[in-house]
Amino acid sequence: MRTLVSPSTLRSPGGKIGYAVIFGCTLLLFVIAFLFPLYWAMTGAMKSPQELAQTPATFIPNEWHPETFADAWDQLSLGKYFLNTIIVAGGAWLAQLAIDVPAAFALSKLRPKFGNVVLGLMLATLMLPAAALLVPTYVTITDLPLLNVNLINSPAAVWLPAAANAFNIYLLKRFFDQIPDELIEAARLDGAGPVRTLWRIILPISRPILAVVSILAVVAAWKDFIWPLLVFPDTEKQTLSVMLQRVAIDMPLNVLVAGMVLASLPMVALFLAFQRHILAGLTAGSVKG
């Protein structure tokens, strides 16, 4: 593929050397900028507290203490906080699929009266910076209108607002719009109701977009900080991020760093496993959103 630099320049002897130098420098820079900090955290966790506090820092640990990871798991009760985070993120994911998929299907294929008004009202919420809704949503969570329920310290305080996601509905609707109406018509003539059509016909062919929405949902919930910070004042109910921030000052640095590494591993593993979907979601999410 032709890019900025012409192929003939690249083929010339000078071009070949220039390319090699630039490639080498970029590679080195990327390793230093993006991989080295992760190496530093991994090895830092395995240094002794004295070594960690020493100036200048050691680049390779003098003594290895891999047991710090086990200590961190116990001292920070990571098992409990992992479970909390999984419940919060998993529930947010399920709520988004269960609520946004039928809504997008109805708006795309059933086209009810005032459907465009409803869609417009949903999309209008995209114009609001999230921060502007922080306080009023918090106040709403403490006392849901009509129901008079207080959702503070309940994972539903994350699940339900996460489902009010206009961007998901927009992404899903755009995908459903491309599914030919004839397919729906054929299902109808075969006697399938709309729910059956959605479940049996639409969902199986919508796997790519469902994967994108799922990953966006899980990653966003796992990374979120400010909302869980507000709605989980009970330290037993907090997510990993909120807990790590809370204990950061009191914990020995090596234990804290080990906890940080462990808390990041699921997201890194998820990324390595689903790169293609994550990168697809990235372009779907930012350029066309």
């Binding site: 100036t55 200048p56 109805a106 708006l107 921060a131 900080f225 950061a248 890194v268 990168l279 990235l282």
Partner: protein
């Protein structure tokens, strides 16, 4: 919530009429059937929509209205809210931190644009030229994006440590004096921008890279035949061809960086000397430290007004891109 799932509502409306098999229906009957069918179709659609309508009503539409009302009320959660007119706004304007927070936030946004806009674009242009290890570059630059922001912030706080931190150790190793980083009000904001850029540049870089990949090679060839050097090709081919993506990400970034919270909250708590108090940090303090939800809402409203234009432009531009 499950009541709408009865089969009568969810049957396709047309099945009953096609099943009937009557040879000729009167015009009135047909009209009635069509009406019934339309009604059923709408009921089904709203059945599927109702959960979404409830969550949007409770967590988007109602809070929007509530937020505006709260801005003009005093709330203490014991007595019913009372109307106080513009008192909340007056209180904000009289707070010396109000101006500081806006200035800091603006500084953060401008610095984040300089770094977070330029660095990813140049990185993408560079990566687009490289023929080897493409997968590695993509993976490496995106890795920080996957880390929980709190982890990134805590990690960098430790790197910045003036004593045993990574930066001063590295500088010391090559004989350079260390910096105060987060501990000096001169460099604190810049240090936060660095972290934010490092953490977020992966997504912007890959979006630029995707945009660069769609530029037709003939354009570069034609420019080269016209005698345009590499710099001119960058200015006259690459930039115009990606200007749309650049605009979208510019708007997105302004909206995102004006809401910066995690980095200052976790890394500096607003200090030193209030040099990293941002609007959102001030908002957090008003609501959850001083329990003054009215003033916090008033500040949210101001933030919304400040960002509304950018958000509206962003939605418009992306919608337009979508149609074309």
């Amino acid at each position: 919530m499950s009541s709408h799932r009865s089969s009568s509502v969810l049957d396709w409306p047309a099945t009953s009429s096609s099943r009937a098999g009557r040879p000729v229906a009167s015009a009135a009957e047909r009209r009635r059937n069509r009406l019934r069918r339309k009604l059923k179709e709408n009921l089904t659609a709203y059945g599927l929509l109702c959960a979404a309508l409830v969550v949007f009503a409770l967590f988007s539409w109602y809070p929007i209205v509530r937020g505006v009302l709260l801005s003009f009320q005093q709330v203490d959660f014991v007595n019913p809210p009372s109307w106080v007119g513009f008192d909340n706004f007056t209180r904000l304007f009289e707070d010396p931190l109000f101006g500081v927070a806006w200035r800091n936030t603006l500084l953060f946004t401008v610095l984040a644009l300089v770094f977070g806009f330029l660095v990813p674009f140049l990185t993408a242009v560079l990566l687009n030229e490289l023929r080897h290890a493409k997968a590695f570059f993509r993976l490496a630059v995106y890795l920080p994006v996957m880390l929980p922001p709190v982890v990134t912030a805590l990690m960098w706080k430790w790197f910045y440590d003036p004593g045993s931190g990574l930066f001063n150790s590295a500088l010391g190793a090559v004989g350079l004096p260390g910096g105060q980083w987060l501990d000096s009000s001169d460099t604190s904001m810049l240090s936060l921008v660095f972290v934010s850029t490092w953490a977020n540049m992966g997504s912007t870089t890959l979006i630029y890279l995707a945009a660069l990949g769609t530029i037709p090679g003939e354009l570069y060839e034609a420019a080269e035949l016209d005698g345009a050097g590499m710099w001119k090709r960058l200015i006259h081919v690459t930039l115009p061809q990606t200007r749309f993506v650049l605009l979208v990400l510019l708007l997105l970034q302004v909206v995102a960086t004006m809401q910066v919270f995690t980095e200052p909250y976790v890394m500096t708590g607003g200090g030193p000397d209030d040099s990293t108090v941002t609007v959102l940090l001030l908002l957090y303090r008003y609501a959850f430290v001083y329990n003054d939800f009215g003033s916090a809402s008033a500040l949210s409203l101001l933030l919304f007004v400040a960002l509304g234009v950018f958000s509206a432009l962003y939605v418009r531009v992306t919608r337009k891109a979508d149609e074309s």
